[in-house]
C-alpha cells in the first residue's frame, strides 16, 4: 500500500537530511506505529506519503503509484484515498460536528444525498451519534479528535495517517481513540500513526518503525515503544557517566537527533 525505496529528503536551507535512505513497505490493512523523537523524520515521512513534499532521492509509492510522478492536478485524487488526523484536531470552529465532517465530502463534490447518508453513519461509528449539532468548542478533547477521525474516515480512505493523534489527550481518552483506530483498521484500512505515546504503543503490540535522525533504526512486528537495547541507550543518555552503554549506544551517538530543524513543529500548516 505504501512503499518507500531508499528515500532521502533534504529540506532546502538544511544540510542534514530529514530522512536518509528509508526503506519501508506497508501492506494493505496493516497498523504501523512510527516512533522516534521530535525531529527524527516522522512528520516528513507522513508528508511524503501525502505528497505535501517530494522526496529528494528514492521513490515513494502509494496505492501502487509513484507519487513523485503524479501531475499536480492528480494529487487531489491521491489524497482522496487518504485520511489525515492531527494532534490539534484541526476542526473548523464555526461549523458544527455534522458540517465539519460533511465539509470533507462537499469539497470533493459528493451529492447532498450521499452526505446525508454517510455522515451520520460515520458519526455513529466514532461514537458521536446525537452530537451532530454541537460546535467544536462545546466538545471535550477526545470528542473533538473523534470528529477529526470521522472527517478523515468519512470518504472511506484506504489509508489513514495520524500524526500524534493522542498527543493532546489523557491516557484514558487516548485508549478510547486507539480502540476507535483499531476498529477502523479492522475495515482493512491501512493505518500509519506517528506517536510519542509509549503506553499506547506498548499496549497495542503492533508493527513499530522507529526513526532516529532520519534513519530507520528498527522495524519490528508486534513491537513495543522501545526495545531492551534502546532502553539501555536511553538510560545511557540520561546518566552518561556511569551508564553501561549498550549494543545500540555507538550508533545512537553517531546519528544523533539530527533531523531537528527550525520550523519542524509547523510542518503541516
Amino acid at each position: 500500500m505504501i512503499r518507500f525505496e531508499s528515500v532521502s529528503k533534504t529540506y532546502p536551507r538544511s544540510k542534514r537530511p530529514a530522512l536518509h535512505r528509508v526503506n519501508l513497505d506497508v501492506e494493505r490493512g496493516e497498523f504501523v506505529f512510527l516512533v522516534g523523537a521530535s525531529g527524527s523524520g516522522k512528520s516528513t515521512l507522513l508528508r511524503l506519503v501525502l505528497r505535501e513534499d517530494v522526496a529528494t532521492r528514492g521513490s515513494v509509492h502509494v496505492a501502487g503509484r509513484d507519487v513523485a510522478r503524479l501531475s499536480s492536478w492528480k494529487v487531489p485524487h491521491l489524497r482522496r484515498q487518504m485520511g489525515v488526523v492531527f494532534q490539534d484536531f484541526r476542526l473548523l470552529p464555526g461549523k458544527n460536528v455534522f458540517d465539519n465532517v460533511a465539509f470533507a465530502l462537499q469539497v470533493i463534490g459528493k451529492s447532498r444525498h450521499h452526505i446525508a447518508q454517510v455522515v451520520p453513519e460515520t458519526l455513529e461509528l466514532v461514537g458521536l451519534a446525537g452530537k451532530e449539532r454541537r460546535l467544536p468548542h462545546e466538545l471535550s478533547g477526545g470528542e473533538q479528535q473523534r470528529v477529526a477521525i470521522a472527517r478523515a474516515f468519512v470518504n472511506r480512505p484506504a489509508i489513514l495517517l495520524a500524526d500524534e493523534p493522542t498527543g493532546n489527550l489523557d491516557p484514558e481518552t487516548s485508549a478510547g481513540i486507539m480502540k476507535l483506530l483499531e476498529r477502523i483498521n479492522r475495515t482493512s484500512t491501512t493505518i500509519l500513526m506517528a506517536t510519542h505515546d509509549t503506553g499506547t504503543v506498548d499496549a497495542l503490540r503492533k508493527r513499530v518503525v522507529q526513526l532516529e535522525g532520519g534513519v530507520v533504526v528498527r522495524d519490528e512486528a508486534a513491537g513495543g515503544y522501545a526495545t531492551g537495547a534502546l532502553r539501555a541507550v536511553d538510560e545511557a543518555d540520561r546518566s552518561p557517566v556511569d551508564g553501561p552503554g549498550g549494543p545500540g549506544g555507538g550508533r545512537g551517538a553517531d546519528t544523533g537527533w539530527a533531523g531537528a530543524r527550525p520550523g519542524a513543529t509547523e510542518v503541516w500548516r
Binding site: W73, P76, R79
Partner: protein, 304 residues
C-alpha cells in the same frame, strides 16, 4: 452542491473582509471611470473627425438669403455666381492646389446637419434655408489653405472660406490632452487597484488558511480551493465597473446631453449609446485586472 458551496464561500469571504472589499470596489470604480472617460473622449474625437476632418479641408460657403457678409449684398447666391466659383476652382490657377471639389446643396447640408446634431435642440429648430450651399474642396497640400481663401476674398456670392482643420484643431487638442490626462490617472489607479486586490486576496487566503488546508488534505481540487478567492476579487472589481458605467452614464446623460449640448452647441456630442459601447470594455478590464492580480497572488500565497 459545489455551486452552493462556492457561493457561500464567496459571500462569506466578502463579508468577513467588508472594509477591504469596499475599498477594492471603490478603487476599481475610480480607475475605470478614468478609463471610461478617456474612451469617451476619444469617441468624441472620432465622431468629430468622421464628419469633418478627413473628408473636407476647405469649405467655400456660398451666400444664403440671410447672409450679412459684404460679398452677399445681392442676397442668395445666383446660379451664375455659383458656376463662376466652380469654374475658378477648376481654373488652371487653382488646379495645382485643388485635389477634388464636391458641391453640397442645401438639402445635403441639412441632412448632414441633422445627422451630426441628432437629438439636439439645434437640429430640431434648423431649417434647410438657414444652411449654406458650399463647395467642399480637398487640397493637394492642406497647408496651402491661404491660397484658396485669398483667391475668393471679395468674390460675389461667397460668404466665407473656412479651413475646417483650423476650426477644429483646438478642440481636438483639448480632447486629446484630456484623454492623455484621463489615461494617466487611469494607469496609476489601475496599478493601485491591482495591488489592493492582491493584498485583499492575500489577507483573505491567510484568514481562511485552516479551511484551505483541510480542503487540500481531503483532496479538493486545486480549482475549487482557488476559485472562491479568484471570484471574490473579480466580483468586487465587476461591481466597481458597474458603478463606473453608472457614473459615466449619468455624466453623459445629464452633463453632456442635458447641459453641454445646449450650453455649447458647436457640434454633436457623445450620447448614452456610446456609454454602452464603452461599458463591456470596462467590465472586461475589471475582470482581467482582478483575474490577473488574483491568480498571481494565489500562486504565491495559497498552497494547493
Amino acid at each position: 452542491m459545489r455551486v452552493r458551496f462556492l457561493a457561500s464561500e464567496i459571500l462569506g469571504g466578502l463579508r468577513r473582509n467588508t472594509a477591504m472589499t469596499v475599498s477594492v470596489v471603490l478603487v476599481t470604480f475610480v480607475s475605470l471611470v478614468f478609463v471610461g472617460a478617456g474612451a469617451l473622449l476619444q469617441l468624441q474625437v472620432n465622431q468629430m473627425k468622421d464628419y469633418w476632418y478627413d473628408r473636407v479641408q476647405v469649405s467655400v460657403f456660398l451666400c444664403t438669403a440671410d447672409s450679412e457678409a459684404p460679398t452677399c449684398t445681392s442676397g442668395e447666391v445666383t446660379p451664375s455666381q455659383r458656376d463662376a466659383v466652380l469654374a475658378e476652382l477648376r481654373s488652371p490657377t487653382l488646379q495645382p492646389y485643388v485635389e477634388s471639389v464636391q458641391f453640397e446643396s442645401k438639402a445635403d447640408a441639412y441632412a448632414r446637419f441633422q445627422q451630426q446634431f441628432a437629438g439636439t435642440a439645434i437640429a430640431e429648430s434648423a431649417t434647410e434655408d438657414q444652411l449654406n450651399e458650399s463647395f467642399r474642396v480637398k487640397l493637394t497640400d492642406p497647408t496651402k489653405y491661404d491660397v484658396v481663401t485669398q483667391f475668393f476674398a471679395g468674390t460675389p456670392g461667397v460668404e466665407q472660406v473656412q479651413d475646417q482643420r483650423r476650426v477644429l484643431d483646438p478642440f481636438f487638442t483639448v480632447l486629446n490632452v484630456a484623454t492623455a490626462v484621463a489615461g494617466g490617472f487611469a494607469l496609476v489607479m489601475i496599478v493601485a487597484a491591482a495591488l489592493l486586490i492582491a493584498t485583499t486576496i492575500r489577507l483573505s487566503a491567510f484568514s481562511r488558511r485552516r479551511e484551505t488546508g483541510i480542503m487540500r488534505l481531503v483532496g479538493a481540487s486545486k480549482l475549487l480551493i482557488q476559485l472562491p478567492f479568484l471570484l471574490e476579487g473579480v466580483l468586487a472589481a465587476v461591481v466597481g465597473a458597474a458603478l463606473a458605467v453608472g457614473a459615466l452614464y449619468a455624466a453623459v446623460r445629464f452633463g453632456v446631453q442635458g447641459w453641454l449640448v445646449e450650453a455649447l452647441p458647436l457640434f454633436g456630442y457623445v450620447g448614452t449609446h456610446q456609454v454602452w459601447l464603452v461599458a463591456p470594455v470596462l467590465v472586461a478590464v475589471a475582470v482581467l485586472l482582478a483575474g490577473t492580480a488574483s491568480v498571481t497572488t494565489l500562486s504565491r500565497y495559497l498552497r494547493v
